[in-house]
Symmetry: C3
Subunit: 265 residues, 3 copies
């Protein structure tokens, strides 16, 4: 499916909502394309956490109509260490620094171009803020159809990709890591449903810091206060406590091991 712009731009950033940074990006977009439809995907990415954002982006973008443009700003170097990429996948377009943010979106398909700043009609660039000066207006121009995908620059042969998580598979198990937590204290991991081994067994259990946790279909299957695992809104394995906070009640840290094991007996 090729990209047909629909006027929609989503924003995924670690800029937070305390300051006017996101509002300024929106002003720059409206200044370029008055009819742009801006949707906040979210601005609560943990500061500088490229891994979290890459998983969240890949798990979210298909809820928007094809033809959407997704702008991502998570950039510890504030634009100095990296070029800007424009990626395409299944009719969606992504604008982000070339620092690994598009790893999971482009992991098994799609294509990226490196933005050539001499070719795109974006504002004169203040040195400190590539993000607002380039990514926001560029996203608006792409969403408007005024700027064609092919005109932003050449195809990128080697975009920066995050080191793959240690998803080691045995015939009956798969190992991943905890990526982060959500507002309810649910822990989400690097393991997706398709990573699970095919077995003739009786289902799966999940191991996290010494706990052996049942894999269920929904929160409602666990009793209040009990630990469970399920596949979440991103399609990723999540460890939760029904009506409680797994983040507070379990021992974990970002990157710690999670194993899903088939119950074969």
């Amino acid at each position: 499916m090729s990209f047909l712009p629909q006027g929609v731009v989503t924003l995924l950033t670690d800029l937070g909502l305390k300051d006017p940074f996101v509002g300024i990006m929106k002003g720059l977009m409206i200044s370029r394309f008055q009819q742009v439809r801006i949707v906040d995907l979210c601005h609560g990415v943990p500061a500088h956490d490229i891994t979290w954002a890459s998983y969240a982006l890949a798990g979210s973008f298909r809820n928007f109509p094809p033809g959407s443009v997704h702008c991502v700003v998570v950039d510890p170097g504030a634009g100095h260490d990296h070029s800007i990429l424009v990626g395409e996948r299944d009719g969606h377009v992504f604008v982000a620094p070339d620092n690994g943010l598009l790893t999971h979106v482009l992991s098994d398909g799609g294509e990226a171009r490196v933005v050539d700043l001499d070719r795109v009609p974006v504002a004169p660039v203040r040195r400190t803020f590539h993000n607002r000066d380039i990514i926001a207006p560029l996203g608006a121009l792409l969403a408007s159809g005024k700027l064609a995908l092919e005109d932003v620059g050449e195809v990128c042969d080697n975009p920066v990709v995050l080191a793959p998580h240690p998803t080691t598979c045995t015939p009956t198990s798969v190992e991943g890591v905890v990526v982060g937590e959500d507002r309810f204290g649910n822990l989400f991991t690097s393991i997706s449903e398709s990573d699970l081994p095919e077995t003739e067994g009786e289902g799966f259990v999940v191991e996290l810091s010494g706990h052996c946790i049942p894999l269920m279909a929904s929160y409602g299957q666990a009793l209040p206060g009990k630990v469970l695992a399920l596949f979440n809104v991103f399609g990723l394995l999540e460890v939760a406590i029904r009506n409680g906070s797994a983040s507070e009640q379990l021992e974990w840290e970002r990157g710690c091991s999670v194993v899903v094991r088939a119950v074969t007996d």
Copy 2:
């Protein structure tokens, strides 16, 4: 007044803004109805606090034009314990789990229908997320006029309602409870202006955890640092400290008693 859809959908949830959950709901809505006008009522409902949300919804919705659709997602069971209701009141429509969220909106009027999932054209339902899979696209379809109110399901005779707060009235007083606090540390209660006794007296005082607090018309009537009570933006009695935080400086907990007493002498 009957419902005439205006393309407006508001969102009231406990999903917070840290994660992309709200953004995903918006994507699902735009995918169904490209012109939908989405307004965040707020996403800061305390996690799982149905009472807080029911009061906030009833106190807020009339600020929007009739014909608006108000989607509410506060659902400790994540959609497993409850059907979904579509309520109507004074030309406004509400989509929410049948868990008490519509208690105050429908308390003295209006009507609710139980959504029949075999009748409404919403996406195939992932078992874990009724919220995003049903409430968001359903709200968008109702706002678009593509789905009529009568077609979502049969009228519900016994929607879940919250236990009434102990609003005990004497000829000269009324008792309620503290429902919650706002961003400024103001405490809002279950008592509305119409609950007050009619008296020939000299005004009212409010009693909360041993304090005797003057009921005033506005924040500006109290000196900085002083405790006051007033009727707030929801039309509910609120205890505040001018330029300070009642939440931090008074003893209180959710559900604790508040009494308004006429000054008769």
Copy 3:
């Protein structure tokens, strides 16, 4: 440049996003002008911090197209101590309480009018909430073109202005104060680039609580963990720690002194 309404209203408030206050303002605006385009500048102004908001507004509004209306609600007295102003500057319009919020927007140009509540067609006013009852619908009406700037009231000769920060200049230095911090713990100050002395020197250093900090062009010029100063998104001097939090690692308080000194040797 005179004001030509474009249907765009931005909101800058200290109301936060925990409660429905901002959502209610949006409902009031849509009720007045259905096509209004509302953009959140931000709602995270520190509670009651007029100085912070005045700097943020002046540093942000030019990112929006001329013809935008900017509504500002930061009002410790909740509307009782002050009239409401409608300011104009370079084709932008501002609606705010007359409590100093427009100080930096109007500091060297522009004009303000005092809203005459007998002249503007806004809703009957609840005594407690000037903000939502007047500023929001007034902004929507101005953005719609239904209400002309000249019709809101007479020109204000003496709007409230904040006491000027102690920006003392010597031939080789300028002194200002820390205004606040952002989500990343960067500290922003009252000093703008144009305040800097013209020198033949070798650049500038910034002094803050005993530290001598290099003034750089961008975050990327500092090593991770190192303190640097730069001019930020508002055009104001900022003290930051690359990939860290200056707020947590330096001694500072709101209003503390910052000096920029030319390196002349």
